[in-house]
């Protein structure tokens, strides 16, 4: 399966945050597994046409969140997630996103909906 990151340069969310959230999402859903190697900062920055600092910051934030680890000469490796979502939860999340898109919601609105539900549930 091809795992990709999409960057919207016009979005209000900073590019580094877009990269971070998408990679974090891929890790949590199991699209990227523990031990997988992420592209080096320079390569991902070139592919997205952004500064290397943007990707470096995204990787630093992912590392701070315990999702990846960066080692010299090895690169950035995905870590095992401490509380991985079960297959059932991942399926429910996929179903929810598909339904929301079918209902005409943009991806940002879907995320807002989830954030709202998180706030409501305390």
């Amino acid at each position: 399966m091809t795992v990709s990151v999409t960057l919207d340069m016009l979005a209000a969310t900073p590019p580094y945050e877009q990269v971070r959230t998408q990679i974090a999402g891929h890790i949590r859903t199991g699209s990227i597994r523990a031990g997988d190697k992420l592209p080096v900062v320079r390569v991902l920055a070139a592919d997205l046409g952004v500064a290397t600092n943007t990707i470096a910051r995204a990787y630093r934030e992912l590392e701070a969140g315990g999702l990846v680890t960066t080692r010299r000469r090895v690169g950035t490796i995905v870590q095992a997630v401490s509380s991985p979502a079960s297959a059932g939860l991942r399926l429910q999340a996929s179903t929810f996103v598909r339904d929301a898109r079918n209902a005409g919601l943009a991806d940002e609105e879907v995320v807002d909906l989830v954030r709202g539900a998180l706030i409501d549930l305390g």
């Binding site: 795992v3 990709s4 990151v5 340069m9 592209p39 080096v40 320079r42 390569v43 952004v50």
Partner: protein, 297 residues
């Protein structure tokens, strides 16, 4: 009166420049293929244009580079012996610039596939292997010629009644300059390969197409290396054969000299012809290409 190599070069350069300019015009004025996205078509055009330009610049710079080499090396002939490798170096510099100016992602929405790319993975193609083999052969040839040469530039046959010496012979006088030039060529090839691995992906290309464009770039780089190395190898063998033929009037060494005199020019010709061999072609078809079409890179 025969035509000397300089006169031949003077006659050939304008002809090759005209041919190259026509090819470049055709490439630049060609409409993008309907089976390709505009980004892939632009990338492919950039690659082909760079390739044609590298040949054009190399041909135009042959005479100045030759003169510069002759002036730079204390023994002018030794400097000229590195001309094919220096020409490869010039072509590689153009290919390097092509990699540095590769089309960058444009627009508000950009997509990148999360996968690691390494320069090492790009070295598994045919051209890098041929380049490694020809480089190995050249180094062995230089080592053997350096070991048997007399005074670093001649071959000597000592007999009880007479001693025969013939030159030029590709001993270390010539070999050392060639080794330095070869090191420069390999360094440039390594840099170009690294750039090809790390450059931005073509936005709308699928993984397979993107891989192919990178492999094609690396193919062009190592095809250039093969050209320079093989022409040098052929010239060395031919010159060594001629000297051996002159120094050894009879016997198996004489026969070896004659063989090398024939083999050398053939190898040099093969090196030049290699430059016309196309690099990787896209097969099977990408998802966006119409059935029954193919894409050459």
């Amino acid at each position: 009166m025969g035509i000397g190599p300089i006169e031949l070069l003077v006659l050939l350069v304008p002809l090759m420049v005209v041919v190259g300019a026509v090819v470049l015009f055709v490439v630049l004025s060609a409409r993008p293929s309907a089976t390709l996205t505009s980004e892939v078509a632009t990338a492919r055009r950039h690659a082909v244009t760079t390739s044609v330009l590298s040949v054009l610049v190399t041909v135009i710079s042959l005479a100045p580079v030759g003169i510069a080499l002759a002036a730079a090396v204390p023994d002018g002939h030794a400097g000229v012996a590195a001309l094919p490798l220096a020409a490869s170096g010039v072509a590689l510099v153009v290919l390097l610039v092509g990699e540095l100016t590769w089309p960058r992602p444009q627009g508000a929405s950009r997509v990148a596939v999360l996968r690691d790319r390494s320069a090492i993975a790009l070295l598994h193609g045919g051209w890098p292997r041929v380049a490694a083999a020809s480089t190995g052969l050249l180094l062995v040839t230089l080592a053997v010629a350096g070991a048997v040469a007399h005074d670093g530039r001649a071959v000597r046959h000592v007999r009880p009644e007479v001693t025969s010496t013939a030159s030029p012979f590709p001993g270390w006088t010539y070999g050392s300059v060639q080794v330095v030039a070869l090191a420069g060529v390999l360094l440039l090839a390594a840099l170009a390969t690294r750039l090809a691995a790390h450059r931005s992906a073509v936005v709308t290309a699928d993984t397979e197409t993107d891989d192919l464009l990178r492999r094609a770039s690396v193919g062009r780089v190592f095809r250039t290396v093969v050209g320079g190395v093989t022409v040098t190898l052929g010239a060395d063998l031919g010159v060594a054969g001629a000297a051996t033929h002159n120094a050894f009037q009879t016997g198996p060494v004489h026969a070896l000299g004659v063989t090398l005199m024939v083999l050398g020019p053939l190898l040099a010709l093969a090196g030049l012809l290699a430059l016309a061999v196309p690099v990787a072609r896209l097969r099977p078809l990408p998802s966006y290409a119409a059935p029954g079409t193919s894409v050459s890179a």
